[in-house]
């Protein structure tokens, strides 16, 4: 008898979306019992699988679901079969048994996520992942309560469809929240990197003229030096920013190495030819040696030395070979 009921139920399940399901299946159980009474051979063997039986039944009855609906039924049937197969595995059974216990947690999360989604959509144009004032907290609490109330409601067809839609929106919003959180974390990382950037800001000794934008090295005897490569204590090239002071680097003789001082600077008023290249009056050097790379970071200069640019240096470096000391 159990096998009859199970077979009939499987047929009913397969025809769950048939518009005349009740009418079609009204006396299915009696009909199947009649067949079963005639022979000891199991129904499934005599009539084929319940899904195939249902398909044949619907075809003979007419008014069968349209192709799309039938494919959906077929998919649902296959998923049902897969579920039944997996249920025979203990871990899957345990998982399925455990999932309902997670539902209240999901209701809370869903309420929170939907409230934040609404606040962000209606809000002030920047993403935030937590309520920021009492009014927003009220919205969040109300949304969480509504979500829990909705979750505890009975499940008719309309509610189920609505629940699927709400859960999908909440799921997408949650995913969006993760992405946003990732971006915010990325922004903070970028900010930290900027703060950690070993930028060398040199100021004039007086501080009146502000930042140093060019360096003019002189030899011990007062001879102006050219093509002097400067590096900081870590071996990073010392770069200035003349463009902040109305000057630009003269690139008319080719690309310039930016830590080779003094820099060939031109004021922005200089003539610019048709190709957009500014011209200075100084002739181009015949050779342009590659910049030397310091094998070891040079000695850290005294603060007064680095900041003082005078035609007669008071304390020139005595040893050409820098030694490491910090």
């Amino acid at each position: 008898m159990t096998s009859i009921a199970a077979y009939a139920q499987a047929v009913r399940d397969a025809l769950v979306d048939h518009p005349d399901r009740e009418e079609l299946l009204e006396d299915l159980d009696d009909h199947l019992a009649e067949i079963a009474a005639e022979s000891d051979v199991p129904l499934e063997e005599r009539l084929g699988p319940p899904a195939a039986y249902a398909e044949e039944l619907a075809a003979a009855y007419g008014g069968r679901p349209a192709g799309r609906q039938r494919r959906r039924l077929e998919l649902r049937r296959r998923l049902g079969d897969l579920h039944a197969t997996l249920l025979r595995q203990a871990p899957y059974r345990a998982l399925v048994g455990f999932l309902p216990e997670l539902r209240p947690g999901w209701w809370l999360l869903r309420g929170y996520v939907l409230a934040l989604l609404v606040l962000n959509l209606a809000g002030r144009g920047h993403d935030h992942l937590a309520p920021e004032n009492p009014a927003e907290w009220v919205v969040v609490v109300a949304s969480v309560c509504a979500s829990v109330w909705f979750g505890r409601r009975g499940r008719d067809r309309v509610t189920r469809l609505l629940a699927v839609a709400v859960n999908m929106v909440a799921g997408l919003a949650l995913f969006g929240g993760f992405v946003t959180a990732g971006h915010l974390a990325g922004d903070q990382e970028a900010l930290r990197n900027i703060q950690a950037d070993p930028r060398v800001i040199m100021e004039t000794a007086s501080g009146v003229d502000g930042e140093v934008y060019n360096i003019k090295p002189y030899a011990k005897d007062g001879t102006p030096l050219t093509d002097v490569y400067l590096y900081d204590q870590d071996g990073n090239p010392v770069i200035t920013h003349p463009e902040n002071h109305g000057y630009s680097v003269d690139r008319s003789c080719g690309e310039v190495i930016l830590n080779r001082y003094p820099l060939p600077l031109i004021t922005d008023e200089y003539t610019v030819d048709d190709s957009g290249v500014a011209h200075s009056t100084t002739p181009c050097p015949t050779t342009s040696p590659a910049p030397p790379m310091p094998s070891v970071p040079p000695t850290q200069p005294e603060a007064s030395e680095s900041a003082t640019v005078t035609p007669t240096p008071t304390k020139p470096a005595a040893t050409p070979t820098p030694k490491r000391s910090r």
């Binding site: 009649e34 044949e56 039944l57």
Partner: protein, 108 residues
């Protein structure tokens, strides 16, 4: 082509024909169709056809208690069903005659 394809088009007529002899319950109709030679007729097809003809108002039904097995729902032709049967039978006779003469030529 197999006979199940042909059967699909004439199952209504076959069921009406069986019930025109005497009333019958679902599985009884299946059995009588098979005994008549339609061995490939499917149980679900017959059951679905019975339910459709019943819904269309061609059949009446009544339940007969049984001491040995489950209650049996019997189906029988009502006036609508008999008119339907007469109409289908006419169409079939004409169609079968046409097909018979056509196929006789091909068969020769």
């Amino acid at each position: 082509m197999d006979s199940t394809q042909l059967l699909k088009g004439v199952l209504d007529l076959a069921v009406l024909a069986v019930l025109s002899e005497r009333d019958g319950y679902g599985y009884d109709v299946v059995r009588r169709l098979r005994e008549a030679g339609l061995e490939e007729v499917g149980d679900a097809s017959v059951y679905g056809t019975l339910r459709r003809l019943f819904k269309a108002g061609a059949l009446n039904s009544y339940v007969v208690a049984s001491d040995e097995g489950p209650h049996r729902k019997y189906y029988g032709l009502n006036d609508t069903g008999r008119r339907m049967y007469a109409s289908y039978a006419g169409i079939w006779a004409s169609f079968a005659a046409t097909m018979a003469s056509l196929v006789k030529e091909g068969h020769a």
